[in-house]
Point group: C2
Chain length 513, copies 2
Amino acid sequence: MSAAKTAITPTRQQDFPEWYQQVIKAADLAENSETRGCMVIKPWGYGIWELIQQQLDRRFKATGHQNAYFPLLIPLSYLEKEAEHAEGFATECAVVTHHRLEAVKDEETGKTKMIPTGELAEPYVIRPTSETIIGAAFARWVQSYRDLPLLINQWANVMRWEMRPRLFLRTAEFLWQEGHTAHETKDEAIAETRMIHRLYEEFLRDHLAIPIVPGEKTENERFPGADMTLTVEAMVQDCKAIQAGTSHYLGQNFSKAQNISFAGRDGAQSFAETTSWGVSTRLIGTLIMAHSDDDGLVLPPRVATQQVIIIPVTPKEDTKEAVLAACHALADTLCGTKSYHGDPIRAHVDSRDLQGGQKKWEWVKKGAPIRIEIGPRDIESRKVCLQRRDQQPTEKAFMDKEEFIQSVPDILQQIHDNLLSRALEFRNANIFACNDMGEFDKHWEKENPGWLATPWSGTAAEEDVLSKQHKITIRCLPIEDAGLPEELLAAVGQDCILTGKARNSVALWGRSY
Amino acid sequence: MSAAKTAITPTRQQDFPEWYQQVIKAADLAENSETRGCMVIKPWGYGIWELIQQQLDRRFKATGHQNAYFPLLIPLSYLEKEAEHAEGFATECAVVTHHRLEAVKDEETGKTKMIPTGELAEPYVIRPTSETIIGAAFARWVQSYRDLPLLINQWANVMRWEMRPRLFLRTAEFLWQEGHTAHETKDEAIAETRMIHRLYEEFLRDHLAIPIVPGEKTENERFPGADMTLTVEAMVQDCKAIQAGTSHYLGQNFSKAQNISFAGRDGAQSFAETTSWGVSTRLIGTLIMAHSDDDGLVLPPRVATQQVIIIPVTPKEDTKEAVLAACHALADTLCGTKSYHGDPIRAHVDSRDLQGGQKKWEWVKKGAPIRIEIGPRDIESRKVCLQRRDQQPTEKAFMDKEEFIQSVPDILQQIHDNLLSRALEFRNANIFACNDMGEFDKHWEKENPGWLATPWSGTAAEEDVLSKQHKITIRCLPIEDAGLPEELLAAVGQDCILTGKARNSVALWGRSY
């Protein structure tokens, strides 16, 4: 079978990691910078982040959260207070030690060099996450049970010195939101942790068209300092897992370390129960790996910077003006009168002085959900030529223009539904039940082995041995209603695959980014 | 005359700087943190920033700019390339020198301490501004004149190690937007610089109700590395100036240092002409000092997190439910059906279990533009009791509820107009023409001396002498149509106040934050 020519080289099958880099490059989403491990997010990529931000932010506000902003720099002494937390982040902290530069002349070259000066008495780390600095504020703000719950979110940049950076998925600096809440009781804090977990699941499904498995992390994989970490795990097209978001129940670990205490209803002093939760620009990496194809990026419609690209086809000078006018009129109608999930349709006329084919392929690679071509004949016939990014780039449909205008929201929803069902089918086809250690060990020799669901009651140490042996982890212990196929769950036995003891839970194993 | 009791102590007249701190505290806008010079922006303050962001962002996009994101950390070698720029920021740079922490046991105390380790071969500075790192990206992106203009904006945090921090006005870390553009010709770059200057002027006037003087900075006050810096200068209630935003024409200074060059229409290689421009969380400090009074914050309606506060008056249990229902119905009607400058009205019912008086004063101090009280009798009479923040807190008006609903946008606009005209009147009353050096020297001995407009053609050195002598600066050389009173301009002579030579321009002198 001879391979069809694709816009991206290599294809997913030839070299998935390199395909990923090339998709990002071809769609002009981001690039590496000279700052080690840090990326530049270019406009087409940043537009996706802006939409993710707006849409998530609405959900956070609708559930009672308020935004605030806390310092970038954390005094070292704050980190020292919660030992497990400090240890978890110690190997990847950028440390600020000086607050001035001095210009000195290099004797050899004669050039001016800047050297750090003004050493700080206490160094700071650039926040890798903000539990400690936000906790210090919470300790000031919380005095009485009347001050609770405290429901705060921050949109910010954070920094973790990554040794093997990968655009969007693992960068030294990334953008994220981090929710931090304090509650009167354990039940309320756990309810918050679970509510956000569900919110992330819905956001990934309904906005990014990514079906995730919601579950709990084992002790080995928990956030440093948490009593419980809930995760949403996505499977991408090489069958690896991506932890797309986490929600942590922190118990009183941080409130004790930082003295977030309050006078309760009975007058007695108690420590607050806290949570934290976040998603990041990693979501962009996840959606690229989940949906894109060998022709480039495929954007879920709700987070597409432009949803409808209108390309004027102007073979002759004398009809050019009329065609351009028709294109702009269509864009204005769509943007001004039609909406999708409450937001105005985003339509753009590509009137650049370039060849039609060049434009088309650019938008294919950039993943715009709908492309429309309008030429002189289409004006007369009141038709548009429609191409959908979730279908083959060569597939074209002619549609009555009025009908198209009316049905744009439906078409976008069809594209969304198509991406979601494709991804769900793929995922379900690549999770396998396994009850036998021999099979288990052999499974990981395969290429793109997918995930295994096993009965599990092993210890953290036993889990660790298997993880190291096969370069896998327990991605999560799926929650009760995780949405996994019933046949799969029915095929998982009752006795732990390793120990033979009655299982505590089903464990989902896999490789991950 | 005995002073009326005010909600803020001290009053503006008693101690303006301390009044400012107390307004921020009483309105719960922000607080100092344990990170030196860095603030925590609390929800009521961050809400203002979110509105500023949204509204400015729309204007940037409407003028063809796109958002992107660039690394937080700048390699030292980048700074070294543009000497003037590096020198300008050298004394206030936070420097990252290590990328790990190591836990060591303190022999004496037995406690674990974290110390920096993993020294970097090349240190980084936390961006004090991003010309150099964005310039490096522009050098990659710009190849041909077809890639120009490049119109980019970034919303980000920046850091300048301030020795005398003041909440919002001067903090080590602050939030801002920085626009960076590259153009084919000098004319285009200057047109961009001026267009943004005008955009800032309009934004301050139409969104923050602050009348500014638009003008050019003298060489002494220019941005390090710029050929021209345009500024919008606000006068606040102690008659000091605040530089509220700047727009810089950078010529080819940065493009030469960073090799942002392109093949022109004639095929020859040229350096791009670049600009940069920004406003920051300083705008919040400016609006506090411009509008607030001795009872606390006064918010311009467009950036008020809540525009209408509805306070249920529930003297008796048996009518409480009906009153609360009426309040929520009113809020829903306002939020759902009425808008102000295209955004839905933001209305909030304060249903907390607190005394009415306590609630009222809280919202006075928080600066909510409109307060509404609804009690049992008002339901029957279909009236609301209206109080405006720009009037005395004791002033009440009863209004037919339907009429109120219809006129909310108008009332908000009246409040805006009132704040703007007050501020304009105050400013114009505190700028004085001065053509005589004796008068000039004496003027600065006054308390809250306001600004002086003088004829000027002195040198940078001469300006510097006067600046140091009186702790003043030339705030700007106002542009042609700066909106200053004609009588004022007519009173400024034609010969330089210092040298007696024909003036080059009018100079506006003042103290500043």
